[in-house]
Each structure stands twice: as C-alpha cells, then as structure tokens.
Assembly symmetry: none
Amino acid sequence: MQRARTDDAKDERRQALLSAALEVFVEKSFAAARMDDIARAASLSKGTVYLYFSSKEDLFEAVLRNVALPKVEHIENLMRDAPSVGEALDGIGLFVPHLIRETALPRIIKLLISESGMFPEIVQSYREDVLDRLLGGVTGLLARAKAAGEIEVGDPALAARLVAAPIAFSALWSVVFETVPEARVDIDALMAMHVTHLKRALGVIEEVSA
Amino acid sequence: MQRARTDDAKDERRQALLSAALEVFVEKSFAAARMDDIARAASLSKGTVYLYFSSKEDLFEAVLRNVALPKVEHIENLMRDAPSVGEALDGIGLFVPHLIRETALPRIIKLLISESGMFPEIVQSYREDVLDRLLGGVTGLLARAKAAGEIEVGDPALAARLVAAPIAFSALWSVVFETVPEARVDIDALMAMHVTHLKRALGVIEEVSA
Amino acid sequence: MQRARTDDAKDERRQALLSAALEVFVEKSFAAARMDDIARAASLSKGTVYLYFSSKEDLFEAVLRNVALPKVEHIENLMRDAPSVGEALDGIGLFVPHLIRETALPRIIKLLISESGMFPEIVQSYREDVLDRLLGGVTGLLARAKAAGEIEVGDPALAARLVAAPIAFSALWSVVFETVPEARVDIDALMAMHVTHLKRALGVIEEVSA
Amino acid sequence: MQRARTDDAKDERRQALLSAALEVFVEKSFAAARMDDIARAASLSKGTVYLYFSSKEDLFEAVLRNVALPKVEHIENLMRDAPSVGEALDGIGLFVPHLIRETALPRIIKLLISESGMFPEIVQSYREDVLDRLLGGVTGLLARAKAAGEIEVGDPALAARLVAAPIAFSALWSVVFETVPEARVDIDALMAMHVTHLKRALGVIEEVSA
DNA sequence: CATGAATGAGTCTTCATTCAT
DNA sequence: GATGAATGAAGACTCATTCAT
C-alpha cells in the first residue's frame, strides 16, 4: 500500500478501515472478528490498523461513533417540520426502503443488538443518543398531531414504537436472513402497507393530492 | 457437585447446562462465551460440560434445538383454530407479554441475530422451521379472514410481518436495552395498542361481547 | 464386572490389566495411552485400574517388571549348558521364531525403545537386568568356544551383538511393520539363514548328526 | 529473536524448527512432546512455530519428510555401482559408523518405531519409500553377485536383512542406550566384524589389494 | 470391590498487539 | 508510514485421578 502523507489521504484510510471494520464486526461479532480480517478487507496489513486505532475496542467504538449519527438530526428535522402526519408517514414510507437497502443502518442495528451484552455502556449511550431521539421525533410528531385533533391515538411514545417496529424488523431481516434468496422480502410493498395501516389505525384523513 | 447417576439426573444436568449456556451465549455471543463461564453458571466445572456436549459448537446447536420449538405447533394451532381474526389478535395481545417476559423467546431471537453471520445454516434452518411457520400461521389466518370478507388487507404474507414486527421489536428491546431501568417499556400497553391498531387497520368489526 | 474376592481372582485381574496395558502402551506410547483405553481393553472400568495400580506410571513400571523377565534365566541357562556352539545356535534358530511370534518380547523391545527418552532409568535398568545378561550369556558361550578352539572370532562381546541383532531386528520389524501383509517376512527362513551364516562366519564345524 | 524477513531466513528458521522438533520428538515421543519444548529448543516462542507449521502433526510429518530421504538414492547408487560385493561391504563398514554417529538416521529409526502405532500410514510409507528401497539395493547387489557366482547365498532378500540388521541394531542402541557411558559400543569395531563375518558367510574371496 | 461422574491441571492453538525492518 | 514476523496471554479440550454411590 502507498503511504498516506496528506491528512486527506489519512482520513480516507481511516474511513476505509471503519467501513471494513463495520462489515467484519457485523458478519462475525466483535469477539470473532480478527484484526487481520479487517485489515485485509481494507486492503491493509495488520500492523497498519494500529497506526489509526489503538486497539480492537477503540476501533469498535469508532465504528459506532462514526456511522449513521449525522442522519439523526436530519430525521428529527423531518419529523419536526412535517406539515402533517400523513405527509410525514408518506415520507417514512418512501425513505425507509432506501435506508434499509443503501445505508449502514441495518448493520448498525444488528451490531448493537449483538454487542449489547459485551458493551452495555456503548449500547445504552447509542440508545440515548440515537434511538431515543428518533423515537422522540416521532413521538413529538404524533403528540402534536394528537393535540391538533389530527389523529386519534393513545400514548404517542408507545405509538412511536409501533411506527418504528416494522422498520427495525425489516432492517434486521435484511441483514440476518436475506443472504439467502428465498428469504427476500419486498420492502417497498411492506413499507407501503405499513404506512397504509398506520394511517387507518391513527385515523389520518387522506387529503386528495391535487 | 453431586453426581448424576441416574438418567433422570443426567437429563436434569443437561437441561441446566443448556439453560446456562443460553444465558451466557446471549450475554456474550458465541465467540466471547467461555466454556468455563457456562460451566460455572451451571455450578459445574469446565470438564463436566464435555461429558454432556462434545464441543462448544455442539452445545450451541443443542441450545437452539432445545428451546422454543415446542411452542411453534402450539401457536400454529392457535392461529388455525381461532374463531375470528379479532379473537386471534386478542389472544396474541394477551399472550405476547407473557412470551416476552417469561420465556426464552427474546433471548433466542437475539442469539439468532447475533450468530447469523457465524452459523448461517443453523440460522436459516431456524428461520424455515420456526419463523416461516409462525409467519405462515398468521398469513393463513389473515388469508382465510380476507377470503371470508372479514378483513380488508393486501398481501396477507406482508401483513403477517406487520403483525409480528412489534412483537419481535419488543422482545429484542427487552433483552437488549432493558438491563437499565430507564429503558423499560410497558409491554402490556404496547401490545394492547398494537392489537387496537391492527384491528383498525384491517377493518375488524369488534363484536360486542355479551 | 464381578468382584474379585479371592487373592487368585485379584491376581488374575492384575495380570489382565498388565497385559492390556502392555498392548495399549505399545500401540500408542505411554503418553498417548489413556487409562480408559487400558481399562476397557481389560474389560474393566477406569476407576478399577486404580485399585490395582496407584498411577499410570506405576502401571507402566509394573508392565516392564512383570513380563519376559522369567525367560532371561532360562536363556542364560541354555547358553551355559549348551554342549556346543553349533547346538546353541541351532537352538536359537529354532527358538527365536517362537519368541517373536508368540511372546511379548517384540512388544517389550518396542516399548523400551519408545520410552527410553521418558523413562531413562527404567530403560537402563532393563538393559542391565535383561539385555546385558542375555548378551552376556551369548558372550560367555562364544568366549568358552573360542578358548576351546571351537570357533574363530574376535571380541566375543561384539560377536554376541551380531548374534542378537537379527533377532532384535526381526522382533521389531514384526511389531512395527507387519500390521500390513506386504511387509511380512518369513522369520523361520530368516533365522535359519542367520544361523547358517553365523556358523560359517565363526567357522563352526558341522557335526554329522548320527 | 531476530525477524526472518527474507525467504532464505525463513527457510533457515524452518530448518531450525525441524531439527529441534526431531530432537524433541525423539526424546519424548510425539504425544509427550510439547510444542513449547520444540519452540524453546529452536529459541523461538510457542506462537512462532505456527507461522511455519499449521499443527503439531504437520510439523511431525514435515520432520519425517525432510530428513534422510536424500541419502536413499545415494546408497542405492552405491549398491548398484559397486564393482564387487566385497568392496560394497567394505564401503558399508566404513560408511555406517559415520551414518550412526553423525546423521539423523538413528533418531529417525527410533521415531519411526515409536510412532508406528500412532501414525501407521506415515510409517508404512516410510518403509516403502526408504527401507524397502535400501533393502532392495542390497538385495539387487547380492542377487547380481550370486548370479555371477561371486557369492554363495540363499534368498538375497533375506540376506539383505541380515546385512541391515546390525546396522539398525547399532543405530538404535546408540540412541536408546548410549546416553549412559557404560552402554557405549565401539561401532567401528562392530561394523568391521560384521563385514568380516558377512564375507565369510557369503564366501567372498578377498582380492589382494595391490 | 467396582463404577463412572466430576474435577482441574496441562497442552494445543489462536490472535491482539508489538516492533524490527 | 507500512509491513508482517514474533510474542504470549487466553481459551477449547483432554485425560489422569478422585470419590460418591
């Protein structure tokens, strides 16, 4: 491998390592992942990894710190700025398939679940920093809509979980089972149905899109 | 430790080991679990484990083979024999909290997810033998109700996933996050809401219980 | 297994164990032999072995102490009492095939060789008590014959080794290689030739047997 | 330890390991030898051995594969090209003491004998590839000489064994018993006598060396 | 006496980490 | 900066030995 002299080149290499590490940690779990696997997945040698991360655990933490977090704010804003629950749900229905197919989200979720026993603090802080904020965004949206008489719902915090569950479920299903073609699920159709069901369940009146 | 002379005593010890192993595998993942941990969790010494299981992997497979499987038929039957979708859903709403709080289901799900990368065949066969059958049971129930004009729904197979998702979600949440009190969720309430939402979404007409 | 109440029954069991142990030690070496193998080869259970021998090493030593030793005196006497070198050699030629095919000698030799590194004292004392005496017997025979002008030979002690070598060679070959039929050697013919060669080499004048 | 960067340095280390392993296997037997012993004998650490050999068994097989084999052809040629049986035997008489004192042959023989029970295939293939060829070389020599009326002998294949036996005997004696000074044998004298005896036994007419 | 379940010391093997090149 | 050889701590597994039954 060439040497990375500039800071940019170093950042690039760091990113390559993080992304290789995510892949390998997800595939094998933290304990079973070998530094060598990760190094090779990033086309580097074992020793080089230690130039960028001080230990396997450090690398693991960096993986969780560096992915997906930017999205949180984005989604919080989407929830806050949505003109109506209906449109917010439509947005979710359209956005989630992309989230599942193209982003690291499913793998991050799987990793969090897998390592919750070994890294409880990391996982709890992830829950606080990411999951609670996302659920909080949806909760807020539903609470405002409920207050506005737009929807009919019990505890918005619980309802937010019902909104999130099929998303998490699909994300997990995709990483866990879809290595095999017969387990494949049509996520677009599933999410479309999820949104339809939610609207019916919440009593969202469908506005006619002119 | 006392010695297990009779076959019954040996079976008991086997069960104790399986249950200790499930605990440790769930907590640490297969790779990070030490046979010694498992042995001590069952109040045995390391060597004794090998009198009952020939290897760590054998023990792991036995753990998956020995739990939850009996329940599958039970639930399949429930779905098949349900007099109506509404009652079936009510049944689910009442049964699931028990399932999540009292049985190994949540831990098994977590384990399956965690080890899907390391034991793909085991995990896929579990999907076929357990998950597909459970989802198939719900799918059948919904398909029959749809044919009878009882409910309004698109593809029953997808809808079955929407039925299952909050159950899986809650199960996972309970093992992954509920080690910490502030992450606790009221599963009874959540499931009650889930059933309510489902009935509304599917257009189930609530019969008045005389 | 029945209990051995009488002393005779106990001795029998001891012998069975010694003979099973010889077999297993020869087949696998001391280190690789498992007490369980030996016990089962004697149709006993593992624990029972410890009623007769205090440890694996004790059993090993007993094996070497209890076999073949009686023969030594017998052979010493044969050598001492032989009326002539020719007849002594004839006796060897007739006796050795039996020794190799029917007695434990070949296995004992193999065992001594195998364990010479792990049990140097045992092996050296075996050499002194058995091998040196046997070689000494032959050496004495040759020395007397030389003194009597019966044969022509250099150092009788060296010549004794030339007498012994093909015997040891055949014994070893039989345990080491003759598990496979294509390695089989006609020991009677080989020993006959050995005796013929020895007589010619030593210049033994063949008396005509009336 | 210094690091072996070049292929040459690695080959050197491999050789050092093979030779350390031979020593330790011979001393203790395969089963009783610890990888750590071997590593230390080669001034390396335990882990390093596994950079060169994938397992203890792999190392063992490599030990047998890498020694003595070159000599076989050499000796085959000597036998084939010998101008006369007498000279061939003289050659053996002079060469064997070197073989026994300076080469790995005695240790290899001991190892083969010791491990014949645990590695029957390896040992049989060694017999075919090495011993049978060596014995075959001598057999051929004797058969040619017999056909030429040079010597008087029965079955040359058996006679070859009588040629080999004192060599094997001495080789074994040297590894097995000569750790102790009082067991030492004068191999040169023994071999000289062996050759003398063989010539007499075969009726080789001693040519006068001008 | 006989058994075989239980134990834990001992050994092979892996792999995170270091460091000479 | 990059490499991969070397290291040794850690963990799976075996088996001699003990001892409750």
